[in-house]
């Protein structure tokens, strides 16, 4: 299948809004996991998160629009605008029929939904905003971005738990490879720092309860891991066929060259401990990219920070990469800002592209005593390293496995 160019990056994350700020913080290994301040979350078992407090400063969208949409759509709009600016795209000059949008989301826009459901039970049906119908559902950001920019090509929202956005990127690539569109805006967004969404995440049972020391709470692949930490944000990229990107002299930052996805089909929450299906997804991505396992220079780990997930992920990597697993640098920058659930894969891809661009791999924060051992984890501080080809892994509840190969142009 054709390789597809990434020509623009848009990032809204707890570690920063915009790729410069995000990268400056990520490469410095600064934690942005804090106690939740948006509402009183103190009685939740886990009340820490990666939060975004200054979105409005980066937003040019009207009050009239913002009152109709949830925070996750707002984040997607800001990230899309940034991605297109970064790509040098003026959407007004594009044929709208040849522009698509593929986004991933896991849980929907609960801040809006919760407020309106409260009004429903207090005031009755007349108290509910008519925008409720279009504000909360997982495909709402796709719709809002499409309307805002007049996008009319093939578009889709993927809902596949934490694997949603990497899957959206994979599908966007296959769609572009059919040569029926000129460009696709792709990635994901998530806004789980709300009372109900936080409650649901807590009942999942895998969040860290290290509320006293938030900055050290998310520690994937560490012996003293205590679960993951949620975060909010959006990661969106502009994707184009290489020929078109070259023709318009775009800055081709990276190429998406392979994608694979499988399901464990094992349990509704947990993955299979053997990592076999994740290994198959990685092999599918490598085969699709027409490269062998020893040509991968860097692995961006899913890193849930839960023993069963970390163990099975390492097992899958060892199955695919064999002795090389101990050599290839592997990292998980989301340990600094939280797991952005449906947006996590896209944010991991953006961090990987920035690693390629800067020849620098950010570390896994809080990794002191690796467990399981056997991977070349990047610990402590960012490591100078030339990354030519990278593998990005993203996994969802119940064993949804997603793997994407990205390479330097």
């Amino acid at each position: 299948m054709n390789k597809i160019a990434i020509t623009g990056l848009g990032i809204v994350s707890p570690s920063g809004i915009g790729k410069r700020q995000f990268w400056a913080n990520v490469k410095s290994a600064r934690s942005f996991v804090k106690k939740i301040t948006r509402f009183d979350a103190s009685r939740y078992p886990s009340h820490i998160a990666g939060q975004i407090d200054d979105l409005d400063k980066y937003s040019n969208f009207s009050e009239r629009l913002l009152k109709k949409i949830d925070a996750f759509s707002h984040m997607a709009l800001v990230a899309s605008e940034m991605a297109m600016q970064d790509a040098g795209i003026d959407i007004k000059n594009e044929d709208p029929n040849l522009v698509g949008i593929f986004l991933g989301n896991a849980i929907g826009g609960w801040l809006y939904a919760e407020t309106e459901l409260r009004d429903l039970y207090i005031e009755g049906r007349e108290g509910v905003s008519p925008y409720m119908a279009s504000a909360w559902f997982p495909a709402a950001p796709q719709g809002q971005v499409s309307i805002y920019y007049g996008i009319k090509g093939f578009s889709k929202t993927v809902v596949a738990d934490r694997a949603s956005s990497l899957m959206a990127l994979g599908y966007a690539r296959s769609t572009l490879a059919k040569n029926k569109l000129n460009m696709i805006i792709s990635g994901g967004m998530e806004a789980p720092v709300t009372p109900y969404a936080l409650l649901c995440c807590n009942t999942y049972g895998a969040l860290s309860r290290n509320n006293e020391r938030p900055e050290t709470a998310y520690r994937p692949f560490d012996r003293d891991r205590s679960g993951f930490v949620i975060g909010e944000g959006a990661g969106i990229v502009v994707m184009e066929p290489i020929e078109r990107a070259k023709k318009r002299n775009a800055n081709i930052m990276a190429l998406i060259s392979g994608y694979g996805t499988t399901c464990d089909g094992f349990d509704r929450i947990n993955p299979s401990s053997d990592g076999r299906e994740l290994a198959r997804a990685i092999n599918m991505a490598l085969e699709d990219a027409q490269i062998s396992a020893d040509e991968i220079d860097y692995i961006s780990l899913d890193g849930l920070g839960v023993s069963l997930w970390d163990d099975s992920e390492v097992r899958a990597i060892k199955t695919v990469f064999k002795d090389n697993a101990a050599r290839i640098p592997a990292s998980c920058p989301k340990s600094m800002f939280g797991n952005l659930l449906g947006a996590s894969g896209a944010v991991d891809l953006i961090a990987t592209v920035l690693s390629m661009e800067n020849n620098l791999i950010p570390p896994i924060l809080n990794l002191e005593n690796p467990d399981p051992k056997g991977l070349n984890y990047v610990q402590g501080q960012a490591k100078d390293y030339k990354v030519g080809r990278a593998l990005v892994i993203s996994r969802g509840r119940g064993g949804i496995n997603s793997a994407l190969v990205v390479e330097k142009p």
Binding site: S62, P130, Y131, S134
Partner: protein, 78 residues
């Protein structure tokens, strides 16, 4: 306050737009591009403001401020 001025105030506040954006003689769709959901919201807000029951069907037609004002006046018996 005159009915038309009050309707204008309700819609301007509701949509968080500048008063000058809402033009006389033009329909709400043509002057400020209201969509169907905004129109539903406007009907609810006008019902609250004037204490009358309005039919969404009659308001959601392409009406100007003057025409909406006449409908509201007829409901409140002006």
């Amino acid at each position: 306050m005159e009915t038309k001025a009050k309707i204008k105030e309700v819609i301007v506040n509701l949509l968080r737009i500048k008063p000058e954006e809402l033009k006389d003689g033009m329909s709400l769709q043509d002057s400020i591009g209201v969509d169907s959901t905004e129109m539903v919201e406007a009907v609810i807000a006008l019902e609250k403001a004037f204490g009358v029951k309005l039919s969404a069907k009659e308001i959601t037609k392409s009406l100007t401020l003057d025409e909406i004002s006449s409908i509201v006046d007829s409901k409140i018996g002006k």
